[in-house]
Symmetry: C2
Subunit: 185 residues, 2 copies
């Protein structure tokens, strides 16, 4: 399926892992490199240290006005200048998933300004969300970010604002992998 991806921890691959830190909960085994398979390939995954499968989907929270603002500002992945990346797998707790749609939206945007915070860092920080809760695995989401080395401080600021938000009280596991693309950084 073309909307399904597998992020695999490997010895050889295009993205060098410069750090792998558990922010909340248990860590992921440290690996030298990350490769992204689209679609997933069980044969290739079998030789990886770990594989995290996830899929892109329709918008779950953003409203039309927010989508217009995002589209006006956002950059795509694979910009030549964006040789830095981060892969951040997150698992939210049962209390989050037991909430109604309006309750989750209220925490995500009314209280936490998740979408607005992301907008503040566009177009420098490109972002792609992948879902994994519905297909099992240890995390609910994987978010992939790409940015140029000079925008590293902007990315750190984005993470700090999100982690200080009410939404993050529902995060029970979070791992942060920092990556660099070979021979480009």
């Amino acid at each position: 399926m073309k909307n399904h991806f597998s992020f695999i921890g490997v010895a050889d691959g295009p993205w060098q892992v410069t750090s792998c830190e558990a922010i909340v909960g248990s860590p992921l085994e440290t690996v030298a490199r990350i490769s992204v398979l689209n679609p997933p390939d069980a044969y290739v995954e079998a030789s990886a240290t770990w594989a995290l499968r996830a899929f892109t989907s329709n918008v779950r929270y953003a409203e039309r006005g927010e989508i217009k603002q995002l589209r006006a500002k956002q950059a795509s992945l694979n910009r030549p200048s964006a040789c830095c990346a981060a892969l951040i797998p997150i698992k939210k707790n049962d209390a989050w998933w037991a909430m109604a749609q309006d309750e989750r939206r209220s925490i995500l945007e009314v209280q936490s300004r998740h979408i607005e915070i992301g907008l503040q860092h566009l177009p420098q920080i490109a972002r792609q969300l992948y879902h994994s809760r519905d297909i099992g695995g240890p995390f609910d989401f994987l978010t992939w970010f790409e940015f140029a080395p000079e925008d590293g401080d902007s990315f750190n600021s984005l993470l700090a604002k999100l982690r200080a938000s009410a939404e993050w009280e529902y995060v029970e596991r979070e791992v942060e992998l920092r990556l660099e693309r070979d021979a480009r950084c």
Copy 2:
């Protein structure tokens, strides 16, 4: 994965197919019986006429007040009296999936009263929604309904109201299978 199911069209199985009608778009091949696998089993699926995989997930549209009303009235599946069932696979068009969350919610409930219409038929018509768009396959959703024979008119009325709604203008394929549980109807 325990939230994943496979609905298979087979020669032998617990649910007898009494009708299989294409409401919009192309039909499904008619089968004698339906069996439900949880979890899916590729070996069993290989011997079926067709297999539709889908998963249960968190609430996507219902707000807290609506969930309270639903929980207060709804019945569970597998009631001994509910020997009639229906399996209704649906695919919505690209325009639906391109909409923002607030736009889809507005059509689903503000304009179409989808949740309210369902509430009007509780507890007689038990319902379980399964998602399949994110894992591929020919439909986006499968909905499974169970009811007693004397509530067949109530179920027909529920379907008529939903199909007359603004939400159904976005349905590009819909098949309706009516089922009876062996030796119980």
